[in-house]
């Protein structure tokens, strides 16, 4: 193909958007609205995922030290804990600090327990954080084999249920995003196909006056690409702008304790890349596959 022909195809593809302005508008708005929906969901799901992770990170193993363990033995235990697989960190928590933490967590009931301070029922403890929240149980199990240990607590039931919930949430999120992306691709290419079916006759005429398949296909390729690009502009702008606004104005309200919503960058950049990628790929793909049907003349 000569250079001027390539330039011609590019120009023709662009012109065709204008020549079929109604159809182009319909296609671009379908791309726009679907990418917007996909973008919003990506934002939500990615944030949900990070929330879930924060919650999971909070899970820890409390290893209570046997009464009467010497300082040296205690250091030995600490080292052994640190040497366990999947252990991220080991922190010492004296029984007084432990009681403080406990009483704090009881809220208004706490006053009633102040009396406990005189006769602390707790032991000193090591707080062990697993490198992966899902490894917590394994770590607790491994730790239970060590000596100088009074008891081990990691909220077995609660943790198990938590992981159950987060697993379900993650699966739902993944299914939703995957389903929506599929839907978006299907609908975008469906719409593009409709605009091209309407031009079936034109494609056939081109073939009858001696155009090769590739000569016909190229402008459609360009057209599909432009549909994708133009269709991605508004969703990208809206999502980046909207998220930026939410983040700067409501970041604190949207955060719960430790779990914060993700910063604007690089998240919106990544999502923008995904959106324009979907737009362009599906645009080109929808366009090219639909043309192919009508090339057999």
């Amino acid at each position: 193909m000569k250079g001027r022909t390539l330039a011609r195809h590019g120009k023709e593809g662009l012109k065709n958007l204008g020549r079929n302005s109604w159809m182009s508008f319909a296609s671009i708005s379908a791309v726009t609205i679907m990418l917007f929906v996909v973008g919003v969901f990506l934002l939500l799901i990615v944030n949900m995922n990070s929330f879930i992770s924060s919650v999971e990170e909070d899970v820890e193993v409390q290893v209570y030290i046997e009464l009467g363990t010497s300082d040296q033995e205690q250091a030995e235990l600490e080292q052994q804990l640190k040497n366990l697989d999947h252990v991220e960190s080991v922190t010492y928590l004296s029984k007084d600090e432990g009681l403080d933490r406990l009483i704090d967590s009881l809220g208004q009931d706490s006053e009633a327990f102040e009396s406990l301070r005189d006769e602390n029922p707790l032991n000193d403890a090591f707080i062990v954080q697993a490198s992966e929240p899902q490894q917590t149980e394994a770590v607790a199990e491994a730790a239970s084999g060590l000596s100088y240990i009074d008891s081990i607590d990691y909220g077995e039931q609660v943790v198990e249920q938590l992981f159950n919930v987060t697993k379900i949430l993650r699966i739902i999120g993944l299914v939703l995003v995957a389903g929506l992306m599929f839907t978006a691709m299907f609908l975008i290419s469906n719409t593009i196909k409709l605009t091209i079916v309407a031009r079936q006759q034109e494609i056939q005429i081109m073939k009858l006056v001696g155009a090769t398949n590739s000569f016909i296909r190229w402008p459609f390729f360009v057209e599909g690409l432009l549909l994708g690009v133009f269709g991605a502009v508004i969703p990208i702008a809206a999502i980046t702008g909207g998220y930026h606004y939410l983040y700067t104005n409501y970041a604190d309200k949207l955060s719960i304790d430790f779990a914060e919503i993700l910063p604007v960058y690089p998240l919106t950049l990544q999502i923008s890349a995904v959106l324009i990628g979907i737009g362009v790929l599906v645009g080109i793909w929808g366009s090219i596959t639909s043309v192919r049907k009508f090339l057999k003349v």
């Binding site: 001027r4 065709n16 005429i205 006056v209 001696g210 155009a211 398949n213 000569f215 003349v297």
Partner: protein, 228 residues
């Protein structure tokens, strides 16, 4: 050189449009194809530029066997054949200029050559001043002349015209005939399906008469008519 051997055509709906056609057309000939409505003239013509394929028999154009011609080589065959379609087949979204230019763009001519050649041809069919119009903004005869312009713009070796004067007044028809005679004089084979008795009887050329899908008469310098 166009050669049809024992060609038959049956459409998908069962209509038997052509039966055992044997025709040999020399390079540079001028041939009228006549016959009543529904005789099979367009079917015959469509097989030459391979819009339709015969159900039986074989066709050769300038040494190319259409029966074994690969799909991807069909466009190159069509570029050697200029076709005036009975229903014009203009691209509705393209201007008159762009429609005619399209036949040159597919053979990747330079832009200035396209421009010059298209305006030349539009001048010949008297549509230079309507170059920027869309087909919808033209009268029936004007559309037909655009189709004629597109057929001849790339100096094809064969011109096939299906009823090229059906929507034209007698004067314009004569002018179109002059164009066709001119390119024929320069060596182009011309094949023209027509109902125009006046023209066939005045400009004497070979006449192939088809009726009911059979060649019923094939005379050099014949008259209009298709009775056996």
């Amino acid at each position: 050189m166009i050669e049809l051997n024992n060609v038959s055509k049956t459409y998908a709906n069962g209509v038997n449009a052509l039966n055992n056609i044997d025709i040999f057309i020399e390079k540079g000939e001028f041939v009228y194809v006549v016959g009543p409505s529904g005789a099979g003239k367009s079917s015959f013509i469509k097989m030459i530029y391979r819009e339709e394929r015969p159900t039986e028999g074989s066709i050769q154009i300038h040494g190319t066997d259409l029966m074994t011609l690969k799909e991807k080589h069909v466009p190159f065959l069509r570029r050697k054949i200029g076709v005036v379609f009975q229903d014009f087949k203009l691209l509705p979204k393209l201007s008159v200029f762009e429609n005619v230019a399209f036949a040159l763009e597919v053979i990747e001519e330079p832009k200035d050559v396209i421009r010059r050649r298209v305006m030349e041809v539009l001048d010949i069919v008297k549509l230079k001043n309507k170059a920027r119009f869309l087909p919808d903004e033209l009268s029936g005869g004007e559309q037909q002349r655009v189709s004629i312009a597109r057929a001849v713009v790339n100096n094809p070796r064969v011109v096939i015209a299906d009823e090229p004067t059906g929507n034209l007044d007698p004067d314009t028809s004569w002018e179109i005939m002059e164009i066709l005679e001119n390119i024929n004089r320069n060596g182009t084979t011309v094949l023209m399906a027509t109902h125009n008795r006046e023209i066939v009887n005045a400009i004497k050329k070979r006449v192939i008469a088809i009726e009911g899908g059979r060649v019923v008469r094939d005379e050099p310098k014949g008259d209009y008519g298709y009775e056996r």
